[in-house]
């Protein structure tokens, strides 16, 4: 993330150059989004009703990674991370239900 030399106010944490940490973190968000897409695609084959929303979530996750987080806003809570946790909890609950159903029980039967 190269910024023009004249732009950053030196004392603002948002524009303080944290080395490549910001870029690494964005790449980590991209990996997480790809993981969501993989999970969604895996579920999609047998349970389209559950798989499609998870697949769409991967785009949301990718977009979340571009939002300013705790490194910029400060504090000890981050709604983006909380959303990830809640989403994974919901996915695991859905997976638990689906694992006791047959193939495609929700839609294809």
């Amino acid at each position: 993330m190269n910024r023009p030399a004249g732009e950053p106010p030196a004392d603002d944490i948002e524009y303080a150059d944290p080395g490549l940490a910001r870029e690494r973190t964005e790449l980590a968000w991209t990996r997480t989004a790809i993981s969501f897409a993989a999970v969604g695609a895996a579920i999609l084959k047998y349970h389209p009703v559950v798989g499609l929303p998870v697949l769409a979530l991967s785009a949301v996750v990718w977009w979340l990674g571009r939002l300013p987080g705790a490194a910029v806003a400060g504090g000890t809570r981050d709604r983006r991370l909380l959303l990830i946790t809640l989403t994974i909890t919901a996915i695991s609950a859905a997976a638990l239900v689906l694992s006791f159903l047959g193939h495609g029980s929700l839609l294809l039967r």
């Binding site: 004392d11 705790a70 994974i88």
Partner: protein, 156 residues
């Protein structure tokens, strides 16, 4: 290297210019300070690199938990049933799904604890997630081995 957020900074009077921000007070007012500071009770802003690293750690655990959940679902649904032990797939798959859920929630709690420690210049709390993961995976592996044996005995 958390020297720049060490405890001495907390006692500084407000307005000394080392990040007298106001945005961090929302939602964290339930915690009280350590008693020696007169500034915000939320510590001081750590180096952004530490916050980014903390976030990446959380994301890595999230990917791990997603993999566990989808792995458990795949075992329960795609694996052919154990001969003689028809419920065997669920015995392996359900704990994996639950483990993914537990790791996701735990890693968020630990992100929060680490962020708090960073803001107060305290040592980072030790993570319990690797221990949880190792013990649970070992237990599930033992169960899977037992299932395979039982299945081999029962099936002709």
């Amino acid at each position: 290297m958390t020297d720049q957020t060490s405890g001495e900074d907390r006692g500084a009077p407000p307005g000394t210019g080392d990040g007298a921000r106001t945005g961090d007070r929302t939602g964290t007012g339930d915690r009280t300070g350590t008693g020696d500071g007169t500034g915000t009770d939320d510590g001081t802003e750590p180096d952004a690199r530490y916050t980014f690293a903390n976030e990446r750690t959380f994301l890595a655990w999230s990917r791990t938990s997603l993999a566990l959940v989808v792995g458990g679902l795949a075992i329960a649904q795609l694996l052919p049933p154990f001969p003689g032990v028809p419920w065997g797939r669920h015995v392996i798959g359900t704990p994996l799904i639950l483990l993914g859920c537990v790791i996701s929630v735990t890693s968020y709690a630990e992100w929060k604890a680490s962020q708090r420690a960073l803001r107060h210049g305290k040592p980072l709390p030790r993570s319990r997630v690797p221990q949880i993961l190792a013990i649970a995976i070992a237990a599930i592996g033992l169960v899977a081995a037992a299932l395979a044996l039982v299945s081999a005995v029962r099936s002709p």
